[in-house]
Symmetry: D2
Subunit: 479 residues, 4 copies
C-alpha cells in the first residue's frame, strides 16, 4: 500500500537537507510564532519534519519547551502549540533526510540536558568524520538515541564544557574536531549562538528586528519575520547573542572557503542573498552564461517551474530571444499524492505540470532547467512540449552534469544513479529526446558569484575541499 | 481560537464556487482514480470540500459508493478510498462556499435514491430562483437536508421523472424551470449526463480517452487524465453518455449567451480552453489592452503571482517594456496557516509573497493584478515594492472595477465591501499608494474572447442577463 | 487490511440499534453538554455513530446547529463542539447498525428543512412497512439521501404538516401510517416532542431537572444529567414540551402492548427502570427462574461479565449456591482492536476476559450468560473455565433460545446463523462443551416484568405482534 | 481549553507507573503482535504512553525498529504498525507519569546505540539515587535527552560494557550502583534480559509458549498471549535468554525483600499471581481482615468497582452479610472526557458510576473501597448511596491510611494532599459522610501475602526499606 503513495517533493531532484532559525528577544516577548514564520520561509530546505524549542532567559532556569514532528510546518504546529511554547529565546529546524533516517527520533532541534544545564541545537550540513567521532565517544561511554550527526556535536560540546570555561569556548573546541559542513544554531539557558564551519559550506546569516536578534539559514527567513538583514555569519565564525548583545569569535576563520555552489543554482530561494550574492542574480547569470556557451536559434526561451525561470530569463536577456511562460504548475499537489496506476503513469507529470499549448505550438523552444539527475522527468517534459506542438526543443541546464556524490548535506546520489555518470551529453540528449542539450561548464561557475573562487563544486568536479570518507556512509550511519 | 486560523485561499480575492467532473469507462475499468486526478486539476475551482461517487453499470443495480469530506482532494482521499470506490462510471466535485454553508451536509456529489433508482449529481453555478423553487417543492411535501440549490435540482428531476419517459427528458423539463447558472454532471445507474444552462455561465467540456468519455469543468482536467479534448458542451445542451455512445439534446439552446467573463480573467486555469478561447491568450490580450488604454513610462512590468503574470506579459508585448519576475511565492503556505498577532501582521503577506529586491530596486515598476476587491492586499504589495526600492509603482488591473454582486456562483461581495463601490479610481489609487492606477474598461471586454459578445459582465456593469433575485439570498438561503 | 481489525463491540452478541435523548431548558441555558452526558449514559445502545443537534427557542428562527460523526461519544465531540452547539433545546442520538448502513449519511439526528421550518429527529426502532411507505413517497416525488427509515418518518411528518394545523397533529397522523417500532424525539424551532409507537416496543421516559424537561431512552440517562425521573412515555402517546409546559396526546394509546422483553434481559442498563420495572430486578428474577427450572448441584454460580452477573446473583439467591466472580474483564479493549493472527486466535477472548483460576479451580461451576447466538464465544468461555480447573461447567442462559429474526430494531440474525435454529439444546450443550445447559423458558418471561403480558418475545416464540414484512428487508433497505 | 478535559483515569486514585513486557521467539516468528496483546493485558499499569521495539536475532545486526506514542495501546498501534515491526525479539512498555514528564521524549522502550551495538530498555520503578547518578554521569560528559531515570540506567550499562566482558556482567555491575525500584526488560541484538532490583519492589515473571520465552510485569500478560507461567524473577536476579536458552545470575539476591504491598491491594490485576500469591486471594483476605477488625451490623456488603469488589466478597464471606452489586460502571468513559461545567459537577461521578437504587434502598450498606486519597470521590459515592435510599453507609478500606509519599514508582502524593495526613479517622468519617469508617491496620498486612514479611508498606508506615532522597525529587527530576 505504501508504495502507492508518491511523495512529490521527495522523489524528484536533489534536496537540501535542512534549514535552521534562531531568535532572541531582549524585550522578553514570546518568540515561537516568529520561529514559525521563519521556518515557513525555510520550508523549501526540508519538508520531512520540523521543530521548535524555546526557553525563557528569565526565570525558567533554562527549562526548554519543544514541539517536533514529522511533516510540514503547517501540519506540525497548531494554535495550541503557541500556548505551550512560551519563551523569549528559541531555535527552529526544518529537515529532509534519506528514507532510512526519517523517524521521530531524528527530528530537530535536539534538546538535551548536560552538566551545565540545557541546550537546544539545530544543524544544517553533514560531517565527514561523524563515524570516527561517534566511535570515539562510544568508547568513552556515550549512548546514542538518534542517527543524526548533530547528536555527536552535542556530545562534543558537553565534553568540552567539562574542561572549558565558557560555552563559546566549548563550541570552538568542538569545531576544531569536526570535519565537514555545519551551520549551527544553538540555544542555552541565556544565550543564542550561531556557528558556521570554516569552509562555509552552508549559509547562515544574522538579522535584527526591533529588540530581537535573528539567525537564519537564508535571508528570506529574515524577510519572513520582517527583520532587517545585518550580515552573513563568516565561515569559521562563532556568533554569540546574550544579554550583553552580540559578539563574535573569528579565531577559526581561514582563507580557504567552500561555499556550496548549488545553493545558488537551486537550493536557496531566489529572494535570498547568500554571502553577499543575490541568488536571483546568480541564476540570471547562469542563464546568460548558457546563452554564451550554448547559443541556438529559437523562437522562445522557457523555464521549467519554478527553479528554471530565472535562468530562462537570463538566457533571454543575453540572447534576445523571447522569454515565455510555457507551463502551469498545480500548486495543490502536496507533499504526498496518490500515484497513478501503470496506465495513468504519463499523467503523473501532467497533474503537477501542464503545457500552455498556445504558447509553444509551432515554436522552436529553448527549455531551461536547473539540473538533470536521472533524466526521467526531463524526458517527460520534453515530450510534453513536443506533443503540444513545439517543433524543436533545445534543453539548457543551468549547472554542470552531476558526476560525484555530495558528502556535505545534500542527497546527490552515487554515480550509478546519475544519468551523466553513465552517458555522454549526446547520449543524454537522445535519451531525453531533445534537439540539442547544453550544460553550464564547470570552469565558469565562479561567474555565478561575482568571480569569488571560494566555493565547492565537488558534485560536478570531484574536487572535494575536504577528503571524503573512505566509504559512503550516508544512510549507513545508522549501523 | 478559531479566529487565529486564517485560511489563506479563502479570505482573499474572489472565488469560483465549484468544479465538476464525470467519466464513463465502456471497458468496465474502475474510474475513481481518474476522477481523483481530474479533481486535482480542478482544485483551483474549490478548496473547501470535495467528493467522488461511483457506480458500476454492470451488476451493481445502480448502487452508489461515495466518499466526501471537508478539505482538499489530497486530504480527503487516501489509497484506501480507491478500494472502496470500485465502479466504471462516476462523478466528482470540488467546492468552495461562503462560510455559512460550509458543512459536511453540503458536500457534493449529492447522492440520492428516488423512484427510478439512484442519482449522483455534481453542480457548478448558482440558481436565482432557488428559493421560489424550494418553496414550491416544500409546499408539495419536500424536505431538505442541505442548503445547496443542487438539492432543488435533484428534486425537480425526480418529480419530472414521475411523468416523463426518460431521464434526459426529465432533465430537460427541469432545466425549463431553472433560472440561473448551472453546469451539471449527473450519474444514473447506466448513464452519465452533462448539462449546461442556456446562458452558458459556467464552462463544461467533453473529452475522450481510450474507451472512456469524460466531462469536466475545464479542459485542463482532461489533460490531467490524458484525455483528448472533443468539444465544449453547448449552452443549453444536454449530453447523454450511455452504452450506445454519446448523443445530445439541443432543444434548449438559445441564441443569447452569457458566459462568465471572469472565468477568462481569473477563475479558469491558463492552460484551459473555455468555449474555444485559450484562457492564457485572453489574459495576454487583457495585458495588451491595458497597455493601450493605460500606457505609462516605466522600466519593468511585473505580475502579481500567479494570476497576474500572463497579463503582465501581454502588457510587455504591447508596450515593449521589459517583463520581469518581481515576487517569490511560498508554495508551502497551505489552506490554513496560523495568523500572526497584531505586531507581525505585516509579515503575513511576506510569508506568502516576497519581493526580489534586486529586480525592482531603483526601477519604475508597472504591477499587474487581476482585480482589486477590498484593496488591502494591493496596498500591502505596493508598499512591499516601494520598500524594496521601486521608485514608482503603476498598478494596472486586468479587469474593470467590481461594482455589483454576482448571483451566478461566485462570491463577489455586495457593494459596501467593494472598494470601487465607495471610491473613485483616484481615491483607490491613493488608498493603495500607487503612482498611477488603471483598470481594463468594460467596453473592451469582448476583445478578451475574440469579439464574442455572448458573455456576462454583470459584476462590472450591472447588466444582469437574468433578472437577479429581489433580495440578495446568498448566505440567506439557509433560512 | 480492514479484515485484520475486529470491532470488539460489534461482532459479538445481539445489539440494540439506537438510543435517543432530548432536552428543553426554559431558562435558556445551553443544553449541548447535558445531551453529551445523556448520550454517554446511553452509549451501550449504539457505538457506531452519534450526533447532537441544538437550536435556540429565542431568536434563532429555528436555525439548527449539529455535529454528527462515526464513533463513540467521546471520539466525536471535543470541547470545541460545545462552542458551536449553543442553544437551549436539542436532541441527541447514538446508533448501531448493520455493516451496510454504517455511513456518515445515516448518522442521526436527521436535520431537515421543510415547509414549516426545521426539524431534528432522533429515532430508535425499526418500521416494518418502511419500504411500502418509501415507495409511496417516491411515487409522489420524494428523494432519499439516507437509507434509514427515520427519513421516511420525516417525510410523512412534512407531508402531514401541509394539511394539518399543528406539528403534534402531523406527528399523530404520521404515526397512524407507521407500522413497527419507534421511539422518537423530535425538535422543532420551539418545541420538543417525544413519541412512542402504540406497541411500545422501545422505551422512552420523561425527566425533569430544575427548569428543564428531558426525554431519554432509559432512566439511566436521566441520572446521568441529575434529572429526576417523572414517568415513562406511554405506548402510543405523543408528549409535547413547549413554552407552555408539557402536555400529551394519548389518542393512539391502545390496550395491546409489545414491549421488547430483551431490553430487560440484555439491552437496557441494569440501573434503568423501563416501564416501571427495574431492569436489575428483572435480571435477578431471570436468575431465580433459571434456578427453579434448571437446578443443578454445584459449588459456585458465576456470571459472564457484565450482563450475566445479575442473573447469576439471582440464581445464587434462589439456589443458595455461592455466588462468585470468576472473570476479569479488560476494560481497555476499545471498540476496535487488532485481531490476532490464526495462531493467536485463542488469546483473542483471553485479552478481553480472563479467568480467576483461584476461584474456579476444583469447583463445579454454574455459568450464567444472557444469550447464545452462534455459540462460539460460549464454547471458548466454557473451555477457559475448564482449563482453569473447573471440574464441571453448567451453563444457564437467562433467555430462551433465539429462533426468529427481529424486525423491530435489533440485529437478531436470520435462522441459519442461530445455533438454536439448527440444533437441539442437547446438541448445543455438546458444541459448547458444557456439562449441562438450560435456557429460560418462553412461558415464564412475563415473570421478569411482574406478570405484565404486554411484551414482545417474537425472537424466541415467532409470535410477531405486527405481521413481519414479506421478505427480510433488513440490510436490503438500501436497494 | 485544556482545563475542561478531565482525564478520567489519571486524576483519581493512586497510579502504578509502568508495565514491561519482553519476548524471544526461537523459531524466528515475528513477536510484535504478541507484545501488543501483552501490553493490552498490562494497560492498567500505565495509560499515558506505550511503545514496542523489536529486532531480529538473525541478520539484522541488531537494527531496532520501534513505534512509540502518547495514548493507549489501541490508539498508538494500527495494523500498519505490525508491517514495520518485524523481528523475533522485542520489548514493550506502558507508562503513566506525573504531568511534567508526560512527553514524547519520555516514552519507552528507550532505544539506543552504544559501543557494543544496540539496546532497547523498558523499566518499571523509580530510583532514589537517580540524581546523584545523573550528576556523576554528567560530570563525565553524558548528555540527557529524556527526564526518565531509565536513561541513567542505560548509560551505566554502556559504561560498564566498556570494561566488562558481557552484557550480563555490565547489568549486574550497574545494579550494584542503582538504589531503588526497578524491574527491567532489556533487549540487545541477540539477547533478552530481565532484571529485578534486590528488594523486588516491582513484580516481574517468566513465561513460556511454544518455542518462546516471555517476560512480563504480571502473569495476566502471560495469559494474554497464552503463555504458561514458569516462575517469578527473583528479587536481585538477572535472567538472560539467548540462543542457548535461559540462564540466571543470582549473585545479587539478598535476604531482605520489599515487595510493594499495594500491588496486591490495588495495582495488579486480580487474575495475576505475584511472587506466588494470588492477587485475588489477597484481596479476599483483605476483606476478611476488615470484617474481623471492623465488624458492623448491616444488610449488604458492596464494593466500589472494580477494585473494591473482591474485598467486599471477602468481607461477606467472613461476616456472613449478603454481598451485592450496588453500582453500574459506564465502560465507555474513556481516558478523557469533557468535564461538566460547575452546575453539572455532581453528575461527573454519576456518568462513570451509577447506583442500583433497588439494591440499596432501605438497606444498611457496608461499602468497601481500596483506598482513600483526597476523600472527594468517597464523599460523593457515600452521598450517592444515601440519596438512593441507603439508611446507613459503613465504609471499609482494604488498606491502611496513606501517610507517606512513595519514592519507588507510584504517585502517592506528599502529605498535605493526603486526607489521612491532616485528619483523624473520625474526622475523615465525618468529611465523607459515612456512618462508620474502618481501615485495614498496618500490622496485619503480611496476612495478605500468606505471612510473608518481605514487603514494603512505607506509604502507610513510613518504614522505607531504602533511605529516601533528601528532598522529594519526583517531578523535580527534570530540573
Amino acid at each position: 500500500m505504501k508504495n502507492d503513495i508518491e511523495s512529490a517533493y521527495i522523489t524528484e531532484g536533489i534536496h537540501e537537507e535542512c534549514g535552521v532559525f534562531g531568535i532572541y528577544d531582549f524585550d522578553g516577548n514570546d518568540v515561537a510564532s516568529s520561529i514559525y514564520y521563519g521556518l515557513f520561509a525555510l520550508q523549501h530546505r526540508g519538508q520531512e519534519s520540523c521543530g521548535i524549542a524555546v526557553s525563557d532567559t528569565k526565570g525558567s532556569g533554562g527549562k526548554v519547551k519543544s514541539i517536533k514532528g514529522m511533516g510540514l510546518v503547517n501540519e506540525v504546529f497548531t494554535p495550541d502549540s503557541f500556548e505551550k511554547l512560551s519563551g523569549n529565546i528559541g531555535v527552529g529546524h526544518v529537515r529532509y533526510s534519506t528514507a532510512g533516517g526519517s523517524t521521530p527520533e531524528n527530528t530537530q532541534p535536539l534538546v538535551l540536558n548536560y552538566v551545565k544545564g540545557t541546550l537546544a541545537l539545530a544543524h544544517n550540513g553533514n560531517l565527514v568524520n561523524a563515524l570516527e567521532l561517534k566511535d570515539e565517544l562510544a568508547y568513552t561511554g556515550a549512548i546514542f538515541q538518534t542517527t543524526i550527526d548533530s547528536e555527536v556535536i552535542a556530545y562534543l560540546i558537553a565534553r568540552e564544557r567539562l574542561k572549558a570555561v565558557s560555552l563559546e569556548e566549548a563550541i570552538r573546541k568542538t569545531m576544531e574536531k569536526l570535519r565537514g559542513a555545519y551551520s549551527l544554531v544553538i540555544m542555552s539557558a541565556k544565550k543564542l549562538i550561531g556557528a558556521r564551519d570554516p569552509f562555509g559550506f552552508k549559509p547562515l546569516c544574522i538579522g535584527k528586528k526591533d529588540n530581537c536578534y535573528v539567525l537564519a539559514s537564508e535571508s528570506c527567513a529574515l524577510d519572513g519575520v520582517d527583520a532587517e538583514f545585518i550580515r552573513d555569519v563568516e565561515p569559521g565564525e562563532v556568533v554569540m547573542i546574550d544579554e550583553e548583545g552580540i559578539h563574535s569569535d573569528t579565531s577559526l576563520v581561514q582563507s580557504k572557503k567552500a561555499k556550496c555552489i548549488f545553493e545558488y543554482i537551486y537550493f536557496a530561494r531566489p529572494d535570498s542573498h547568500v554571502d553577499n550574492v543575490s541568488v536571483y542574480n546568480s541564476r540570471i547569470m547562469a542563464g546568460r552564461l548558457l546563452a554564451q556557451i550554448h547559443p541556438v536559434e529559437a523562437d522562445l526561451v522557457v523555464g521549467v517551474p519554478d527553479s528554471g525561470n530565472a535562468a530562462a530569463m537570463g538566457y533571454s536577456f543575453e540572447s534576445g530571444i523571447q522569454y515565455a511562460t510555457a507551463f502551469v504548475k498545480n500548486s495543490y499537489v502536496g507533499r504526498t499524492f496518490i500515484k497513478p496506476k501503470q496506465a495513468m503513469r504519463e499523467s503523473s507529470v501532467r497533474i503537477k505540470l501542464n503545457v500552455l499549448t498556445d504558447v509553444v505550438k509551432g515554436k522552436r523552444v529553448i527549455m531551461i532547467d536547473d539540473s538533470i539527475v536521472r533524466g526521467t522527468t526531463s524526458e517527460r517534459i520534453v515530450r510534453m512540449l513536443k506533443n503540444a506542438g513545439a517543433t524543436e526543443v533545445h534543453v539548457r541546464i543551468s549547472s554542470p552534469p552531476f558526476l560525484y556524490p555530495c558528502y556535505f548535506g545534500t542527497d546527490v546520489p552515487s554515480g550509478d544513479q546519475l544519468i551523466a555518470y553513465n552517458n555522454t551529453v549526446e547520449q543524454i540528449r537522445e535519451i531525453i529526446g531533445a534537439d540539442s542539450l547544453g550544460y553550464l561548464s564547470v570552469d565558469r561557475l565562479s561567474e555565478l558569484i561575482k568571480g569569488d573562487e571560494g566555493y565547492c563544486d565537488a558534485c560536478f568536479s570531484g574536487n572535494y575541499p575536504i577528503e571524503p570518507p573512505k566509504q559512503d556512509i550516508r544512510g549507513e550511519f545508522e549501523r
